[in-house]
């Protein structure tokens, strides 16, 4: 309503209206008032929480991260406390994060495979395939995923007991009440050398691939770019597999980098960060002014534009204040953790490392139980299996619908045109239909990947040690709910940002290049 009044008066009077009827002033005043109100509510809540916590004698902060955990985890890269490897609170949370990512990654892989198969067979000419797929999709997507997970747990719980000779393939593949165990492939000592060598070689392969493709475009005809590149990749893998000790020289390089980074004085880091804040604000203002520039010179700036520029300047100054005075720990943290990061890398390339990048182990049993972790096979506990099956089948039904919709979205004229050009059926599918279907499929598919990552948190219902479950154990021990929830939030937001940026990059690659 304020908008209404002010525009009316602007039309009547002409020229500059008084301050309290200026649309731009009012607009910004309302926004600032709302901002202050929201920040005020947050401030009030935080003060309340602090007093409430202090009244209960619970310290605020993250100091507890280094405390010993005093609990065991059900599964993960480290489950118990031992003298050589302490299980601290932060370590336990880290194990939970790795478990979450492991579940999400495998879930995404299998849900995509099953989803694509089911989605394509919903469009099959075969009656049985079509009906089977549609019943599959409709059944699985209409039952809540949590109900499915718990149903899987109940079903797996009714499987046979674990004995020395149980399993479909005793000693190699074991399925029982306690879970599923199979041989585990793990990263051996030579992996980092292997990976860095592959990285180097892949730059060369990329160059060869590009020049091959350019030649094909120039000369026409079939140059077998794909199979040649694949052959080069195989050669690169074989070479790096055996020749990777060559890369050991990177160790000293990284340790030198670590020392150099650690030697940066705090003042320099602070100046650097402040410069980044101020320069980015200046850059934004410059770009903004550029966008207002017309051939006739700079357009007249309205109040709203001035507010925007002043706001960005204030934000930059606030950033500088935070870096220098408000939170001096930030710059020293960046110095220390940067140095640590290089140090970790130097350690991975350290001398005396073997050359084998991967190795495998068979599952072992002791006293009627799986040996959980260490020198043994890959054991999926029954909790892991229940969560995995529930997530994969539920999400695959959504992915199937996305794939079906994507293929149906490609107009049939496209494949007819491809046939008219003389492309074979498989060529038409590979080069005409699927690329266009992918463009439709990609964004919702990325959403499903995000959903699977977030839904791993349902592991708490079946006792799978993912981040939320571990976090709950932690705050039940030490009442640090506020800190644990902030860790949840940062972790999941990081996952979301990573997945969505990957999907966006792929999408940009696939986008139609328009003239």
């Amino acid at each position: 309503m304020t908008d209404n009044q002010s525009t009316a008066s602007v039309i009547q009077v002409g020229g500059r209206p008084p301050l309290w009827r200026n649309a731009a002033v009012l607009k910004w005043a309302i926004q600032f008032a709302a901002l202050v109100a929201v920040l005020g509510v947050f401030w009030f809540l935080i003060v309340e929480a602090r007093t409430n916590l202090a009244a209960k004698g619970i310290p605020v902060g993250y100091d507890w991260l280094d405390d010993p955990a005093n609990f065991q985890l059900a599964e993960g890269i480290q489950t118990v406390d031992s003298p050589e490897r302490r299980l601290t609170m932060s370590r336990a949370l880290w194990v939970g994060m790795v478990n979450t990512l492991r579940m999400a990654g495998l879930g995404i892989l299998f849900a995509t495979i099953i989803g694509v198969i089911v989605g394509v067979s919903r469009l099959s000419k075969n009656y049985v395939a079509r009906r089977f797929s549609s019943v599959y999709v409709e059944t699985l997507r209409n039952v809540p995923v949590l109900v499915q997970i718990i149903l899987w747990l109940a079903i797996l719980g009714s499987l046979g007991k674990l004995t020395a000779d149980s399993g479909p393939i005793p000693g190699w593949l074991i399925i029982s009440q306690k879970g599923i165990s199979l041989p585990r492939i793990f990263l051996a000592d030579g992996f980092y050398q292997f990976a860095s060598m592959m990285l180097l070689l892949s730059v060369g392969i990329r160059y060869v691939n590009r020049s091959l493709r350019r030649r094909q475009e120039r000369e026409g005809g079939e140059h077998r770019v794909g199979s040649k590149t694949f052959a080069l990749v195989v050669v690169a893998v074989v070479v790096s597999w055996f020749a990777n000790p060559v890369m050991a020289f990177l160790g000293p390089v990284f340790s030198a980098l670590s020392d150099g980074w650690g030697a940066i004085p705090q003042g320099v880091m602070q100046t650097l960060l402040s410069l980044i804040a101020v320069l980015s604000a200046a850059l934004w203002i410059k770009r903004f002014l550029d966008s207002r520039r017309t051939p006739a010179g700079l357009a007249k700036l309205i109040d709203d534009d001035w507010f925007r520029m002043i706001f960005s300047g204030v934000a930059a100054l606030l950033g500088v204040f935070v870096v220098v005075r408000g939170w001096p720990g930030l710059s020293s943290w960046m110095v220390n953790s940067g140095s640590d990061l290089w140090g970790v890398l130097a350690d991975k390339f350290g001398g005396g490392r073997g050359s084998l990048p991967f190795d495998a182990m068979k599952p072992t049993l002791s006293e009627g139980r799986f040996v959980n972790y260490g020198d043994t096979g890959l054991t999926l506990s029954v909790f892991y299996a229940a969560l995995f099956l529930g997530l994969v089948f539920y999400t695959s039904s959504f992915i199937a619908e996305i794939v079906r919709g994507g293929i149906l979205a490609v107009p049939s004229g496209q494949s007819e045109a491809a046939a008219a050009l003389g492309l074979t059926r498989s060529q038409a599918l590979r080069k005409v239909v699927l690329p266009q279907a992918f463009r439709v499929i990609m964004p919702p598919l990325g959403n499903q990947y995000l959903n699977i990552t977030k839904n791993t948190s349902l592991g708490i219902a079946v006792g799978f040690s993912e981040i939320v479950q571990v976090g709950q154990t932690v705050y039940n021990k030490n009442s640090q709910t506020l800190a644990v929830f902030s860790i949840y939030m940062i972790f999941y937001l990081a996952c979301s940002l990573t997945i969505s940026s990957v999907v966006n990059t792929v999408n940009r690659r696939l986008a139609i290049v328009e003239r």
């Binding site: 109900v147 718990i150 939320v468």
Partner: protein, 604 residues
């Protein structure tokens, strides 16, 4: 489009004589890959069916655990002497379904031949199930499957033979619905399911009789009323027409709030307080406020309205300050109502106009006040906030209630958030975007935990909130972010010309948004909103993790802990899967139909 191509590619599964053989050859064995697909998928299908039947009819599964606990699963510990409320609610819903069906004459119709082929394949499917079901299947059920399968086969082929393709007829929707109702009633009264239940903590099970009369008598009455009201609706439809339909639509929008409330309301309700305080206050605000708005919205009273609005706003804000310092007591809902009336009076110049418009404005205020006071009375009464140790709320009633109220409350929040996110004001945009993206970035369970654990921490000392209310707040906050994104999609589909046209007509920003932009944007986002309603319904199963007694919790931990049914998880879980499936599947099918209808409307 996809639907039509699918049906075009799917002829009736079984034809007679030579054509049947040709159909099989064309659809199952036309090429090598086709034959391979037939073999592979049939093998998977038969294996899966055998496995699922093995789960259902396994010797360990005791299905009387579900039959005995049906009341627990549907409405948990709902007091038996208050059960009439559940039946009244069900009656109102079914009665309105009948009325709506009659008033709209919904008649998509079914092809008789299609009906015949469906019957035929269902019969064949039942026989297949009998063949695949394991040894442990009870003799009675196996026999029933064979008999029903053969009966359906015979019926289907008779129908197919009686109605050849060229003389296909269509069955009316209501006729089919009424015969289904008749079938359900016949099954209830004739089939000996057995009578299972609990009386005064004692379990009993009587085999060989029909279900208890406390179940079948009310259902019979409800269903008969539904059929009767179809006739009423049909009679009212043409004569009164649009008004009746508008009233029915209004009922479906706000009615469930009252009906669910009728069920959710705590039995120990302080009626003295309601009649002495709540009802007079609601009446005062609704009538007094409505009258004030009606008088002030006469054209030419803008200045007066602004002055009165400013005074009211100052008074309302002062009330909150007074509340903060504890100067004088006042019911919180009175404070809310004063704030709302102040805003409404400030909005008067926007809605000023002729008599009908003013009446509508005052009427909208009246409705808002009645609804708000009804809801606040329900939530805010002492006995409802503190839920006694064995909670009486639970089961399907809780699931449906939470899902409905979450959608109802998060809808306005979502609209506001989406408007802020698409607005030209950068701070509003940044705040709303941050909220939406942060909430959408984290899993629902962390939000629920946050609200059930952290909310009491954030509140000032002396203030508390019940577990269920905290969880409800978490659901609402979560749902609002998704709602905002769905509505934003609709907002972005509005063309620039609509805004320019509204400006050219001289509409204010509020008028432009409420009268031009939102109606079109919401219409576009209806399919997405229905999708979200289904998702919300499914997500209510997470209440089980944060401590509520919903369907999942009862099936997964209450029933398996009963001494008679120790460890009986699978029957209960399979049963609730079926319940979730039936509701979600019905919702998604009707949303598809709605979408098709809306698209057809757009195309014209």
């Amino acid at each position: 489009m996809s639907e039509s191509t699918m049906t075009a590619a799917t002829p009736a599964p079984v034809e007679h004589g030579r054509s049947g053989v040709r159909w099989v050859r064309e659809n199952l064995f036309s090429s090598v890959s086709n034959t391979l697909q037939t073999i592979v998928f049939s093998a998977i299908l038969l294996g899966l069916m055998r496995w699922i039947l093995g789960q259902i009819f396994s010797e360990e599964a005791d299905w009387s655990s579900v039959a005995t606990n049906l009341r627990l699963l549907m409405s948990y510990n709902y007091p038996i002497d208050q059960f009439i409320r559940v039946w009244v609610a069900a009656t109102i819903v079914f009665l309105m379904v009948g009325l709506s069906l009659g008033a709209w004459k919904v008649d998509p119709g079914f092809s008789v031949r299609r009906f015949g082929s469906t019957t035929l394949s269902t019969g064949a499917f039942l026989l297949l199930v009998r063949v695949l079901s394991p040894e442990a299947t009870p003799q009675r059920i196996a026999l029933a499957m064979v008999v029903a399968g053969i009966a359906l086969l015979v019926l289907g082929s008779l129908v197919m033979r009686a109605v050849p393709r060229e003389r296909d007829r269509r069955l009316g929707f209501t006729a089919v619905l009424n015969s289904v109702v008749a079938l359900i009633l016949a099954v209830l009264w004739l089939v000996p399911f057995g009578d299972y239940g609990v009386v005064d903590g004692e379990r009993y099970a009587v085999d060989g009789v029909t279900v208890a009369s406390s179940t079948k008598v009310p259902w019979t009455l409800v269903l008969i009323l539904m059929v009767a009201f179809q006739v009423v609706g049909r009679a009212l439809g043409p004569s009164v027409g649009a008004t009746v339909r508008r009233l029915i639509v209004l009922f479906w929008v706000v009615g469930p709030a009252f009906i669910i409330f009728l069920v959710l309301r705590d039995p120990a309700f302080d009626w003295d307080h309601v009649w002495s305080t709540d009802v007079p206050m609601a009446a005062a605000f609704a009538l007094g406020g409505g009258g004030l708005l009606y008088l002030l919205s006469r054209p030419g009273r803008d200045e007066l309205a602004r002055v009165i609005g400013a005074v009211l706003l100052a008074f309302a804000l002062f009330n909150w300050v007074a509340a903060f310092f504890g100067w004088y007591p006042m019911l919180q809902k009175a404070r809310f109502s004063f704030l709302l009336i102040a805003f409404a009076v400030l909005l008067v110049p926007t809605f000023a106009g002729e008599r009908a418009a003013r009446l509508r404005f005052a009427g909208a205020w009246f409705g808002l006040m009645v609804l708000m006071h009804w809801l606040i009375t329900g939530i805010n009464t002492e006995s409802t906030l503190v839920i006694a140790a064995p909670p009486f709320l639970g089961g399907l009633v809780l699931t449906v209630g939470i899902a409905y109220y979450v959608m109802l409350v998060s809808f306005p929040l979502g609209v506001l958030l989406s408007l802020a996110r698409t607005s030209k004001m950068p701070i509003f945009r940044v705040m709303s975007t941050t909220y939406i993206e942060v909430i959408r970035g984290v899993p629902l369970i962390t939000v629920l935990f946050f609200f059930s654990i952290m909310l009491p921490l954030f509140l000032p000392r002396g203030m508390g909130i019940s577990d269920l209310a905290a969880v409800f707040a978490g659901y609402t906050v979560f749902s609002a972010a998704y709602m905002a994104e769905n509505i934003r999609g609709g907002l972005q589909s509005i063309r620039q010309g609509q805004y320019e046209a509204a400006d050219a007509l001289g509409l204010s920003t509020v008028q432009r948004t409420t009268l031009i932009v939102l109606p079109q944007a919401l219409r576009v986002s209806i399919p997405n909103l229905v999708g979200q309603a289904i998702a919300t319904f499914k997500e209510t199963s997470l209440i089980a993790i944060v401590g509520g007694f919903d369907l999942l919790r009862i099936a997964n931990s209450t029933i398996p802990n009963q001494p008679d049914f120790l460890g009986q998880k699978r029957p209960g879980l399979l049963f609730i899967s079926l319940v979730y499936f039936v509701i979600a599947f019905t919702m998604s099918k009707s949303s598809q139909r709605l979408e098709a209808k809306l698209q057809a409307g757009q195309a014209r």
